[in-house]
């Protein structure tokens, strides 16, 4: 009897006690995360799991009785669908154009504002306005400014005699894409500016001062000191922006409706159109899964960089 008791204290009860005290220490934490965890599971992860199954089915709202598991058929169809390739190209052009240009503009504005002078706060607040205005409102305002009937931009261009007849900004494929990129940059560069300002404020002044004392030109200081130091932070923000731009439904949907002739339909909008307008729920979901897989690569990169910046400690 005594022997077995002794043995137990040696092995499992010790473990159990440790386990118990671990749980007692952390029960509170588990209660605290419970509500948010429930929302995450119910609103994101459970629907996501059922949605994944949808991507491997033939499911059309028009003929629901034909719904069946069809393996990878949707993906084979997607691979041979030239619309998908066109949409993917559109997505890439949008992401590269919008994120790249808003990075440059955000960097420029951040650098211009990284010095205290009068009106600095005013400029900063004004530049943040696009970030606050409801996207539907701003896209509709842009749509009107780009309008070829009475839009401000064409009126100004014609008054200045730069063009004779109105430029059809939203109904010519190339110009529509250009408009999307400009409006996208407009709505995204304020975020980049704030990121750049935040990164700049964490650089000690002594660094650039001593570089200046050593006779470095402004450009040299930026090129070899400031820029390398802000790069890691801005890369993380850029990745996040790329993901958001790729998933942005509102911009093309409201500004151009994806037209003319699907020239401004990115993959995410095509997926929406398949699922909600053509009622091909299975096929539409499989396109969303394709874009999600592409984003997972960027996402993995994002999480890696976050971890390297030590957010967990």
């Amino acid at each position: 009897m005594q022997d077995t008791m002794g043995n137990r204290t040696m092995s499992s009860p010790g473990k159990q006690r440790r386990r118990k005290s671990y749980l007692r220490r952390n029960t509170m934490a588990y209660w605290l995360i419970l509500p948010s965890l429930l929302f995450l599971l119910a609103i994101v992860f459970y629907p996501l799991a059922t949605g994944l199954a949808e991507g491997f089915r033939y499911h059309s709202r028009v003929q629901p009785w034909l719904t069946r598991f069809n393996g990878l058929e949707n993906y084979v169809t997607a691979f041979h669908d030239h619309q998908v390739w066109l949409a993917l190209r559109t997505s890439i052009v949008m992401v590269v154009g919008i994120v790249g240009l808003s990075y440059l503009l955000g960097l420029a504005s951040g650098l211009l504002l990284n010095k205290s002078f009068r009106l600095r706060g005013v400029y900063r607040a004004l530049i943040l306005v696009p970030w606050v205005v409801p996207p539907v409102v701003s896209y509709i305002s842009w749509q009107w400014m780009l309008n070829d009937q009475s839009g401000l931009i064409d009126l100004v261009l014609m008054k200045m005699h730069l063009v004779d007849s109105p430029v059809l900004w939203l109904s010519r494929p190339g110009l529509a894409m250009l408009s999307i990129v400009v409006v996208g940059v407009w709505s995204r560069f304020p975020f980049m500016m704030i990121t750049v300002l935040a990164a700049l404020s964490s650089i000690p002044d002594e660094l650039s001062e001593s570089a200046a004392l050593d006779g470095a030109s402004r450009f040299q200081t930026f090129r070899y000191i400031t820029f390398p130091l802000i790069l890691p932070v801005t890369v993380v923000a850029t990745l996040l922006q790329a993901i958001w731009t790729f998933n942005d439904f509102g911009l093309p949907f409201i500004l151009t409706g994806g037209g003319p002739a699907n020239s401004t339909t990115p993959l995410i909008l095509l997926s929406y159109k398949e699922a909600f307008q053509r009622f091909n729920i299975g096929y539409g979901t499989s396109l969303a899964i394709i874009s999600m897989t592409l984003m997972l690569f960027l996402g993995a990169l994002y999480l890696r960089m976050q971890k390297r910046q030590g957010v967990y400690e």
């Binding site: 949808e54 002078f117 607040a125 409801p134 009107w144 304020p190 404020s201």
Partner: protein
């Protein structure tokens, strides 16, 4: 490490040329010239910033200005200040649409999202900041990953789920969805602020026998006020500005939010831009006021968020 080395290398490279530059400067730059140069630089800075700021607020300014212009002036007028300002468009919008209801709906959902995102988010943030529980990394990553899922992917299954619980086409559908997306950043942001609060006070209170929730409420939250302000602004904006889920989930006019109402205006008023812009102005006003009141706190919050993620 490597950064330091790079800087050092650069510094030695620079000091070689610094002598030349010092000579150059001594030869040419007199005090007056330098002052002139500084003034030119300041002017250039203001000019560039003015252009950028104009680009940023131009569309909104033009929208507001058109909202006050009579129809005859809208199609041809290039002036930003209406020559004969009128409130006609505003009264049409308020009379011929359910603008008031939409406004109320948007406000209900946004305020609900904001309050719950702070309450539930501060629980999660507190747990992440003070305990090293198993699964903490997973929980944190799950929150971050939520921001990367395409809405379209979630919309279909979520639509079916909400239908099953009779929440589709109600404001509750929007509330739970926006809340979940708001939690994705509010937990992280609040964790960041809580991390900065020293633990000594908490420990003293624990010894005095205060419970954790009480400590969170009466010690931690008051100290994290700037963080709460920025979470509030983010959550409010997310909810107020969201379009896609509202567009998929809400069908009846009574339950429209302002974003949906605005979108329906393009159909209803097609090319009556004056009316559309008046509605847009009204829809933007609350967020604009909110933003300018809390601008300082918000910028600080965004900057902290930008470096922390």
């Amino acid at each position: 490490m490597s950064k330091d080395i790079a800087i050092d290398k650069q510094r030695t490279g620079l000091s070689r040329s610094s002598q030349q530059m010092a000579q150059d400067r001594a030869r040419s730059a007199t005090g007056a010239q330098r002052r002139l140069w500084a003034r030119a630089e300041s002017a250039g800075r203001h000019l560039a910033l003015c252009l950028i700021a104009l680009f940023a607020i131009g569309p909104l300014l033009w929208a507001i200005s058109s909202a006050f212009k009579p129809d005859s002036e809208i199609m041809t007028g290039l002036s930003i200040i209406p020559s004969r300002p009128t409130l006609e468009h505003f009264s049409i919008v308020l009379r011929d649409s359910q603008f008031g209801t939409w406004f109320k709906n948007s406000m209900l959902v946004a305020v609900g999202t904001t309050v719950l995102a702070i309450a539930i988010g501060s629980f999660g943030g507190y747990a992440m900041s003070r305990w090293k529980f198993r699964g903490r990394g997973l929980y944190g990553n799950a929150l971050l990953v939520v921001q990367m899922f395409p809405g379209v992917m979630l919309a279909i299954p979520l639509y079916l789920l909400l239908t099953r619980y009779h929440l589709i086409d109600t404001l509750w559908a929007l509330l739970v969805t926006y809340l979940t997306f708001a939690l994705a950043f509010s937990v992280w942001m609040l964790k960041g602020y809580f991390d900065g609060i020293p633990r000594e006070m908490e420990e003293a209170a624990l010894i005095d026998g205060a419970g954790r929730l009480r400590i969170l409420w009466s010690i931690i939250l008051p100290l994290a006020r700037p963080g709460i302000v920025s979470v509030a602004v983010f959550a409010f904006l997310l909810s107020w500005n969201e379009f896609f889920f509202a567009y998929v989930f809400i069908a009846s006019n009574n339950n429209f939010t302002l974003s949906l109402g605005m979108y329906s205006f393009i159909q209803q008023f097609s090319t009556q831009w004056g009316n559309i812009m008046a509605a847009g102005t009204l829809a933007t006003l609350p967020v604009l006021v909110f933003f300018f009141l809390l601008q300082r706190a918000l910028t600080r919050g965004m900057m902290a968020g930008a470096t922390k993620g």
